[in-house]
Symmetry: C2
Subunit: 225 residues, 2 copies
C-alpha cells in the first residue's frame, strides 16, 4: 500500500517544522509548500528548504504570490514597523486573509497530487491573536474546500490537519524535540537578518523564547548580537 499523501504548509518556522516531523512520523508522503508573499523575513524560505530536506519531503515548492502589493501589514509593508512590545487585539503583523490564501493554494496542489490531507501549524493557544488560526476558521475552510473541488463533489473529503491547535508553545517545542526536530534550522523571527539570526524582541521571537523557557529546553535560536 502506498503512503497517504499530505500537503504540508512549511513556513520555515518552529511550528511548521514540527508539523512536518509529526506528519512524517505518521508515515505520510509529504509535499511541502512555502510561499514568497513579499514577507520581510524572506530568509525563512531558506529555512523551509533546509527543513523540507531534513525531513524527507518528496517535493518542496515555493509559490510566489503578490500579496505584498495589498499592504496593510507590518510583515509585507516596509513602511510599517514590526512591534517590539506586546499589543492587545489583533496586531499589525496580521496579513489579511493569509491563511485563507495559503490553504486555498494548498488545496489546489492537493487536488492535482491526489492528496486529501493538508497539514498546517496553526495554534489557538500561544498565538498572535490572528483570526485565521482558530479552529472555527479551519472547520469552515474544510467545509468550503469540499464544495470547491472536483474531488470534494466526487465524495472524497479533504481534511485540514492541525496537530498543534491545542498545544502551548512549550508543548509544541516538546513535541518537536521528541521527534528530533532541529530547531536551530528554523527561523520564526519577523525581522530576521540575512543570515536568519533573530531579533529577540518581535512578537514571534518573544513567544518562541518564552516557549523554550517554559519547556525547560535550552534555546538554540541564533540571535543578532
Amino acid at each position: 500500500m502506498s503512503a497517504i499523501k499530505a500537503v504540508v504548509l512549511l513556513s520555515g518556522g518552529l511550528d511548521s517544522a514540527t508539523v512536518l516531523a509529526l506528519a512524517r512520523q505518521r508515515g505520510r508522503a509529504c509535499y511541502a509548500l512555502s510561499f514568497d508573499y513579499g514577507q520581510r523575513h524572506r530568509v525563512e524560505l531558506a529555512a523551509a528548504a533546509r527543513v523540507a530536506q531534513q525531513w524527507g519531503a518528496i517535493e518542496h515548492r515555493t509559490v510566489s504570490i503578490g500579496l505584498g502589493g495589498f499592504g496593510g501589514s507590518a510583515l509585507t509593508d516596509p513602511s510599517i514597523g514590526v512591534p517590539e512590545h506586546g499589543t492587545t487585539g489583533i496586531p499589525i503583523t496580521y496579513v489579511p486573509a493569509r491563511n485563507t490564501v495559503f490553504l486555498a493554494l494548498a488545496l489546489g496542489w492537493a487536488e492535482v497530487l491526489g492528496a486529501r490531507e493538508i497539514h498546517i501549524g496553526v495554534n489557538a493557544v500561544d498565538y498572535s491573536g490572528y483570526p485565521d488560526c482558530r479552529p472555527e476558521f479551519i472547520a469552515a475552510f474544510a467545509q468550503m474546500a469540499n464544495l470547491a473541488t472536483k474531488a470534494g463533489i466526487e465524495g472524497e473529503s479533504f481534511q485540514i490537519v492541525t496537530p498543534l491547535m491545542a498545544l502551548s508553545k512549550a508543548g509544541i517545542i516538546r513535541a518537536g524535540i521528541a521527534q528530533g526536530v532541529d530547531f536551530a534550522a528554523t527561523v520564526s523571527c519577523y525581522q530576521a537578518d540575512a543570515e536568519g539570526r533573530a531579533c529577540r524582541v518581535c512578537d514571534s521571537c518573544r513567544l518562541r523564547r518564552a516557549g523554550f523557557a517554559e519547556a525547560g529546553v535550552a534555546d538554540p535560536t541564533r540571535y543578532q548580537a
Copy 2:
C-alpha cells in the same frame, strides 16, 4: 456619503465585464482584480485592463500567482490540449481550487481597502460544470471569510455578490447590453491568439456564441480566420 467599496474580480471575459458594469450601475466604488496564474489565454489580461478603464474602476491590480506550476489543467499546462468538443462531467479546463484562490486574494485586498463586498461573475446555469461556480460553494466561502478576517470577527460581514448566478448566457449578454458593455473588448476564449481573437471551438467560445445567438444579438467577437 462616500460610495460603498467593492472588489470586482475581472478576468477580461464577457461575464466579469458585465459584473463590473452592474456594480458601477449600483454606484459601487470598484477595485478591479485580475490574476496572472499562468493561463494560456493571458491575452485576457489586456482585455481586463481595457474593461477596467472603460468602467471607471478606481484601481486595477493584476496579481501574479504560481498556480500554473501545479499543473493538472488544460488552462495552465501547455502539454494538455484544450477540448474542442463538448464533454460530460468536469472538464480538463477546470483549474483546481481556482475560484477559492481568487476569492481568498480578493478577500485580503478587500480587508485592506475596507471593502465589504466582493463581486464575482460565477454562474450556475450556462457554465462549464466547475464545482467552484455553484451557490453552495459561494455561501460556504462567505461563511469562512467571516471567520478568517479581522473585519469578520469585529462584526462586519463580507458579502460575495454574484449577480450572474441565476442567469443564462443569453441573459448575461442582455444584462450587459442594457448597461452598454462593449463585448468586443472582452476575451473569453481559452486559446485566443496574441491579438485576442477567439478560436470559435473551445467550451468557452461555444457557450459565448450560443449566448449571442439565443439573445438575438449580433456576435461582436473577433474570431481567428
